[in-house]
């Protein structure tokens, strides 16, 4: 079963609620929290990798949306601006998942595989050309 990486945005009034817990107990999802940033009185954001436990992922997303949680695929929130990239390959050393990698050692060009990206942000301070942008 393919895993899905989602960015959840929590409005301030939902921050006190144990919503991730319900994804596990009510919908049987396998939840891997890649990142979470929660500040009282402000929007919270969380990056989750979700295994589609009992095949109820779509229902779980509908539940989140109904509650008022913003749900976006991670791939929409992480952008690699190829036109800014000069293919120096500096980002490929620190990238822990090889989302940014030199796929072909003859061409020596950098490629970005959104499916592999876990939004760890290690590439951000490394790229001299601001070619990677994380929006959340």
């Amino acid at each position: 079963m393919p895993k899905k990486k989602l960015v959840l945005n929590f409005p301030p009034h939902l921050i006190g609620q144990a919503i991730t817990y319900r994804l596990i107990t009510d919908y049987g999802l396998v939840v891997n929290i890649l990142r979470a940033r929660i500040t009282p009185q402000e929007w919270g954001s969380m990056v989750l990798e979700l295994g589609n436990g009992n095949g109820r992922l779509a229902e779980a997303v509908a539940f989140l949306t109904e509650l008022g949680v913003g749900v976006e695929p991670l791939s929409k929130e992480v952008r690699w601006h190829e036109e800014r990239c000069i293919h120096c390959t500096a980002c490929t050393g620190p990238c822990p998942t090889q989302a940014l990698a030199v796929a072909d050692r003859h061409s020596m060009t950098v490629s970005f595989d959104q499916e592999r990206c876990i939004a760890c942000e290690l590439c951000l301070p490394v790229c001299p050309y601001q070619a990677v942008e994380i929006l959340f």
Partner: protein
């Protein structure tokens, strides 16, 4: 069979010159041998696209009405400090200059989002840049302040002048300490978890002419997407470094000072770059054609990444303290494989110089020569070579002591 630059230029004019890139020639020499390749090929093109900090540009911005003597005053371009120590309206901006209000490394590591390198990129890209100046008034130059938009097309002269580019070979940077180091060689993870290198290797201009047989004062080059010239050897030129049997230096050695008309350049080949915790610089595209005058030169341009050796240097201790320690020597081929071995430890590598774009520079130069829009210039003088005794010295410090005004004469 020896050729002259003049003969090659005649072939270029007639559209008959055989031009290959420094990458393509490797296979040709392997297949046909040096002798046959030298007879067949006229020019080999090189290229590099990498951060080069000792780059800058000067401008004549034209006279305001009433006239203003910016020389001796202060001047900024998009709030980045430029240099005004010339005549009335000639100014210079260096690649690493920063806006006065950039916090630098006060909050460590600093981001350095904008500086001189970005000003040059913006101007070359045709963007409006804010020019401010303040100075003292004189009888002939009464005006004291200026705050205006300006663009490259409106300036009189706009000239890229880089006092040190195209370093012949470079360190591979690692970090032996236990904290992250933010350097001009990128972000170095502790305990040697990564290694960063910066060379175009087999495409690099000076690695293809290691003894400066053809590249000299006045050599015409690809610079920033336009055409430029080699002015002289660059600052820190250090030709006496140890070399391989093929003459290729195993350390940073030769450098070039280069110049060209900024108005004919392109932001694709002049990019502002921000190094976290370090500062701003300019990434420069530079390519040099090498005329195949004889078999010896063909042997030089056949150099491949496996023949080029670079030193691995610790940037947490040895480099900052000017210690000449080298942890290991590795080949560019190993660096480009994505992993090297340093004292038995496997280390992930990443580049700062774009090989993909270096290849593009060499191809553009190849096309220019093939289509007759670029011809070779005869050098006016050679660069100081390995036996010239020319060397790069450290600063000899003689600390200043204030004069003792109470001393009895």
């Amino acid at each position: 069979m020896a050729k002259t630059i003049q003969e090659i230029n005649e072939k270029i004019k007639a559209g008959r010159a055989v031009v290959l890139t420094a990458e393509e020639i490797i296979g040709v020499v392997r297949a046909k041998g040096v002798k046959q390749a030298a007879a067949m090929v006229d020019v080999v093109t090189t290229g590099t696209f990498a951060p080069m900090c000792s780059s800058g540009a000067y401008f004549n911005v034209g006279h305001a009405t009433p006239r203003m003597k910016i020389g001796g005053g202060r001047v900024t371009l998009n709030e980045v400090a430029a240099y005004a120590g010339f005549a009335a309206v000639d100014i210079l901006v260096g690649a690493t200059a920063l806006p006065d209000d950039d916090p630098r490394n006060k909050v460590f590591p600093g981001k350095f989002p904008y500086g001189g390198g970005h000003v040059i990129e913006d101007l070359v890209g045709g963007k409006d840049v804010r020019l401010t100046a303040s100075t003292y008034g004189t009888d002939c130059y009464p005006r004291k302040t200026l705050d205006t938009w300006i663009r490259l097309a409106d300036m009189n002269e706009a000239v890229l002048f880089n006092m040190r580019n195209a370093y012949q070979n470079y360190n591979v940077a690692v970090n032996l300490s236990d904290r992250v180091r933010y350097t001009y060689m990128g972000v170095l993870q502790p305990r040697m978890r990564n290694a960063n290198y910066c060379t175009a290797g087999q495409l690099s201009p000076l690695l293809n002419d290691p003894l400066y047989r053809t590249i000299g004062v006045g050599t015409r080059i690809f610079l920033g997407g336009g055409q430029g010239l080699v002015v002289s050897h660059g600052t820190q030129h250090n030709p006496g470094m140890p070399r391989t049997n093929g003459g290729v230096p195993k350390r940073g050695a030769g450098t070039l000072a280069v110049t060209g008309d900024l108005k004919h350049m392109s932001p694709r080949w002049l990019r502002g770059a921000s190094f976290t915790g370090y500062g701003v610089t300019l990434t420069v595209g530079l390519g040099i054609p090498i005329p195949i005058l004889n078999e010896e030169i063909m042997e030089f341009v056949a150099v491949s990444d496996a023949d080029i050796i670079a030193p691995v240097v610790d940037y947490s201790e040895a480099y900052p303290n000017g210690k000449p320690e080298v942890l290991a020597e590795v080949t560019v081929a190993q660096l480009k494989s994505g992993e090297i071995s340093v004292n038995g430890k496997k280390v992930v590598t990443a580049g700062l110089s774009s090989y993909a774009r270096a290849r593009e520079v060499a191809r553009i130069l190849q096309e220019w020569i093939e289509t007759g829009s670029f011809w070779l210039a005869e050098p006016l003088a050679p660069l100081p070579g390995p036996d010239s005794g020319y060397a790069f010295k450290p600063l000899k410090e003689r600390p200043y002591e204030p004069p003792n005004r109470n001393a009895v004469a």
